[in-house]
């Protein structure tokens, strides 16, 4: 299962399997607990400035840098309410089911040619399969809440997952076909000459749109749609459980930005004239794509449910299939 190219920096340092596993776990968890908070802070600031405001300025002193830490402390202090009619166990399990898949995906995400936890042969397949589980958490939470708004939100989330998972997978398939490998490291290495965003530009656009929809981020936030169904599947959640859902959302932004970067923007490969180390390049690309996701939220109003489904089935899917066909022909013609 493990691909032969590249050895993780952790394995280079220590030959002890258990020590390496521990270090990798700590690294992945640390990454998951820090980077989504930075993206969350960025969202506060970018949205504020898009509306000619300043955003958080007080917490932590310098430009409110500790705002999300303060939010976390606030969430911990809140009462953990479970509705009387709710299915307690499913209700409590749902936030974990929503959050853990994104942590698991981080395991295969390469930050540099030797900075990763695991180089799976089936990398991108693993990523798409595991990140699809996250929506199950939303579905569980919505169903177990025993609340009609939560249920409507959960149903919308399920419908959205089915609609947008397909273009997402097809867009990724284009990059996999071109690279001839499903390992994320090999996909990145195959882009040494040309980033795939150039030959696969339509698929890049489709991948970004579909990942925004997968995360139920505006303008594809029908499952949450606070002006019509309160807060969708999260309506009954409070305190730490709600914070986990939020963390899953920001973690999802980081993970899908990372995957977009690996598939289309050359992952950790540097720009031609700016020779920076791989992890810095990768983080820069992740933050740039996260900025794009936030920028879309700041700009566009929410799509209606039927528009959202129509957009996925009638335009995205067709363009993705067509471009895969083009890639297949080009690949065969060039050989």
């Amino acid at each position: 299962m493990i691909a032969e190219t590249g050895v993780s920096i952790v394995d280079q340092l220590t030959g002890n399997f258990w020590l390496a596993a521990l270090l990798k776990t700590v690294g992945v968890l640390g990454f998951f607990l820090v980077v989504p908070l930075i993206v969350g802070y960025m969202e506060h600031k970018v949205l504020a400035h898009a509306q000619a405001r300043l955003g958080p300025m007080e917490a932590g002193g310098f430009h409110g840098w500790a705002q999300l830490v303060a939010d976390g402390v606030k969430f911990i202090q809140k009462e953990d309410v479970v509705p009387a009619a709710a299915d307690r166990n499913v209700f409590s399990l749902a936030p974990a089911v929503a959050m853990i898949p994104y942590i698991v995906v981080l395991v295969v995400l390469p930050l540099g040619s030797d900075v990763f936890a695991l180089n799976l042969d089936v990398g991108i397949f693993f990523v798409l399969a595991v990140s699809g589980i996250g929506v199950l958490g939303i579905l569980m939470g919505g169903w177990a809440s025993a609340n009609k708004y939560a249920l409507i939100g959960a149903m919308r989330a399920a419908g959205q997952l089915i609609a947008y998972e397909l273009p997402l997978v097809f867009a990724a398939a284009g990059a996999v076909m071109l690279a001839g490998s499903m390992s994320l490291i090999n996909i990145v290495e195959a882009q040494r000459d040309l980033w795939y965003v150039v030959p696969l530009f339509p698929l890049f656009v489709i991948f970004v749109i579909s990942s925004v929809a997968e995360l139920s981020r505006p303008p594809f936030d029908m499952p949450i749609a606070d002006s019509e169904i309160i807060f969708g599947a999260f309506t009954e959640y409070s305190g730490l459980k709600f914070a986990f859902f939020l963390l899953a959302e920001y973690g999802g932004i980081v993970v899908l930005s990372g995957i977009t970067s690996v598939l289309f923007l050359g992952g950790y490969l540097p720009l031609p004239f700016i020779p920076l180390p791989g992890p810095i390049m990768m983080m820069g690309k992740i933050f740039a794509l996260s900025f794009l996701v936030i920028w879309l939220r700041a700009t566009f109003p929410r799509l209606r449910e039927d528009q959202l489904q129509r957009f996925a089935w009638v335009s995205l899917l067709e363009i993705a299939l067509l471009w895969i066909l083009v890639v297949a022909f080009a690949k065969v013609a060039m050989n």
């Binding site: 970018v46 504020a48 400035h49 898009a50 509306q51 000619a52 405001r53 300043l54 300025m57 920028w295 879309l296 700041a298 700009t299 566009f300």
Partner: protein, 168 residues
């Protein structure tokens, strides 16, 4: 479908324009004034607090009588002043107390309008809140202090009539 046919200039042009608007706003400095750290810029006509220029007051009681909720308290006594050049003594009113209860005041500004000798002014000061409702009654020393924060009136607009007092 009418909406779709209107935007036939090119696919996604409106979307790009929208992104441009938000990006331009992001690059502009924010309009937020960081209030507790920075005092806000308030316009000259701000109805913050009513200030009293004691020297102009003739104790005519017009403000206290016109006040709709009776929040102005005035105490005065009469003194006889002998003119320097001789003649009969003139009776002059001397102000002992002038206080406004800002817990009653509804900031209508009638007292400022009605004052015949320009003793009352609007000042833009606004942060004089108290924890106790009784402390909201401010005496004339405090009201006098606020006259130093009164802003000059704004420039007249083009074509506006000159103020009546300037013509006389």
């Amino acid at each position: 479908m009418a909406i779709e046919t209107q935007g036939t200039k090119g696919i996604g042009q409106g979307l790009l324009k929208g992104l441009g608007v938000t990006l331009k706003t992001m690059l502009r400095p924010a309009v937020t004034q960081q209030y507790p750290h920075v005092k806000p810029d308030l316009p000259a006509r701000t109805r913050g607090v009513i200030a009293l220029k004691e020297g102009n007051c003739t104790v005519c009681y017009k403000c206290a009588r016109e006040c709709p909720d009776w929040c102005i308290y005035i105490d005065a006594h009469k003194e006889a002043h002998e003119p320097a050049g001789g003649g009969r003594a003139r009776s002059v009113k001397v102000l002992d107390r002038f206080a406004i209860d800002f817990s009653l005041c509804m900031y209508c500004g009638i007292c400022v309008e009605v004052c015949p000798f320009d003793a009352l002014f609007w000042s833009p000061e606004f942060d004089y809140g108290e924890y106790d409702i009784d402390s909201m009654t401010h005496e004339k020393d405090r009201l006098e202090q606020w006259t130093y924060t009164v802003l000059p009136p704004p420039e007249l607009e083009d074509g506006a009539q000159p103020p009546a007092e300037a013509a006389s």
